[in-house]
Subunit: 353 residues, 2 copies
């Protein structure tokens, strides 16, 4: 029997609702598998916690998390707390402190779903966005001058290190070589961001030189976003900076069926620290409490966690079950055009397992 | 008779090919109208020029342009010259020096074209992206440290001034009030870019307070990009920073029929300096010289110029003619699924006028 410790942070809004279904799936998998056991501990770190304590997590929050084998995250964000606080005090420190420098987001049209793109089907929509997750445009470095005066200005630094850039691009090429179709597309904007993105391009060139059998495309992010709509079939592994990867992966979610579906892994490939798995979607305050949020993104995130821990069959099994339920079409949450509840869709997937 | 001086910079690649058709349309309009006359001068400032002279334009290039009433720009970029040079030495200085702080990009599905979005038609796809065009993420400020060493890093500053931010947001609200459906969507990313984009949000709030009858939405750019695909009908005026506006407007181009269609105006609203009109697409070296580039984006850019100079009827007439030719469907360039040449499509529009 293999034991794993799991930190669960359901968060705000629909987070706890979809997390419940995801944990239920995890229990079913444990039973079916028989050789793994998750010992999970739930943390109530969210915006309510902030309102009570003045921080999103306790001062030793990161120390506490450090000893877990993995982290399951729901979503944070509430009208009670400015977004930049909820984000910079919880999810971004976790990504950074635990060197989860890979943010992996599969863009895959599941069977049973239709793409909003008129002429694109399952074969056209199967790639991953690999996003840098610890530096780049999200630096918390900068400030304001002349606050309140007509000359006021705000600065934010984009910081690209060789260390951080090399490791994400290297990861993308390795991934393309071992797990995908040997095709890497790098998102740049070196025509306009003349310091950081020319640097990025140079490193893409250096790394690609070591993989002669991998085909590389370097596109400006504006054109790339357009290609996601006009010709998504050209993508296999898309590697992008923190901000560009954020935008492209949400857009990717949209072309494969909307925000309720897409999972993500915040991965520390060296496994020195816990990795964290979370839906791409946010806390969705507008539908929170109604029990109608789509649990698939959170359930798929559990599958990614299992894959990361070495249980590829469990990943496949969960994905298969999700697809069977979608093909079946009886249980669909409102975002998928049905009227099933979170619970009903979650149960349907559990039963199919 | 009203006289206008027009600077024409065809640029590289397909630029000169589509410019020819656009100028032909302009001549037809002059004749039909009878009361306006354009005196145009062509400048060969492009990548070939750079190879010969070591600059993209002469040292007094901006002084020369300053005296024109408007500038028509094709596209620049060639494998001969790094993109960041061709851009930072020609188009970006023009945008900045002439305070063309508004980059206006209509996102409108023309009659005769089909959107790649399965369930979206003409009524769903009719908005504009108003992009800040002089500061923000494109600053040319930053640099490199420890070049070639493992500790190497590149920095780029995002700079948002109150002056620059207020004037673009103000413009968007005025435009929504006087020319559109009184609905403004602002693109932000204040959850992650905690200095610049929180500043942006504050100014959106200040300006929106002065327009109680305008409905405002503030969305994070990642979600916004997804909404372009899932629910474009919610947009009327989208206002965004330089980089976000760049990405969103290319994406917008994709959902209304591809890169060969969309025009843009780089506008100095005060008319203190010439404004510049150009297609959203680039120089497309892959199809350059074949005579098959779609001239519609460049022709529509001429229409925007005429509108800017006060000839709204000429704008409408050109748009009508483009739409008639598209509905007719006989002359379509390859990007639109036909086999017409640039010349044939250009002529068809001219004849329809
Ligand atoms: C050439 C490039 C710098 C430019 C930009 O990003 O502004 C282009 O993409 C555009 O949108 O006009
Ligand atoms: C909450 C926000 C800062 C975050 C991001 O942009 O990284 C989210 O959009 C995501 O993609 O995980």
């Amino acid at each position: 029997m293999q034991y794993y410790s799991l930190a669960v942070i359901p968060g705000d809004g629909v987070g706890p609702e979809v997390m419940k279904e995801a944990l239920n799936i995890l229990h079913v998998i444990e039973e079916l598998h028989g050789g793994m056991k998750f010992d999970s501990q739930t943390f109530d770190w969210n915006c309510d916690y902030y309102v009570k304590h003045g921080n999103m997590m306790p001062a030793n929050g990161l120390e506490i998390l450090q000893d877990f084998d993995a982290i399951l995250f729901g979503a944070v964000g509430s009208p009670l707390v400015p977004d930049h606080i909820s984000v910079w005090e919880l999810i971004l420190p976790i990504r950074r402190r635990f060197e989860q420098y890979v943010n992996m987001r599969p863009i895959k049209l599941l069977h049973g779903l239709e793409s909003p793109l008129r002429n694109k089907g399952h074969d056209d929509l199967d790639f991953v966005v690999i996003r840098e997750n610890t530096e780049g445009e999200y630096t918390n470095m900068g400030g304001r001058l002349y606050q309140g005066l007509p000359y006021e200005m705000a600065l934010q630094n984009n910081v690209f290190t060789r260390f951080g850039t090399e490791r994400i691009i290297q990861y993308a090429y390795d991934y393309a070589e071992h797990h995908r179709r040997k095709n890497v597309t790098a998102a740049t904007k070196s025509n306009a961001m003349n310091f950081t993105m020319t640097f990025w391009d140079e490193i893409v060139k250096e790394v690609s030189g070591k993989y002669p059998d991998i085909h590389t495309n370097l596109y400006h992010v504006d054109a790339l976003a357009a290609y996601f709509v006009t010709s998504p079939e050209r993508f296999d592994v898309v590697v992008a900076s923190n901000l560009f990867g954020d935008i492209l992966s949400d857009l990717g979610g949209a072309i494969v069926g909307g925000l309720g579906i897409g999972p993500s892994g915040n991965i520390n490939p060296e496994k020195k620290y816990p990795s964290m798995f979370e839906p791409v979607h946010g806390s969705a305050p507008d539908i929170a409490g109604k029990g109608i949020a789509n649990p698939i993104a959170q359930i798929w995130s559990v599958a990614m966690m299992l894959d990361h821990l070495g249980f590829k069959e469990a990943y496949d099994l969960i994905l298969d079950s999700i697809e069977k339920v979608l093909i079946d079409g009886v249980f669909r949450t409102p975002d998928l055009g049905g009227d099933a509840s979170t619970r009903e869709l979650g149960n349907a997937i559990a039963n199919t397992l």
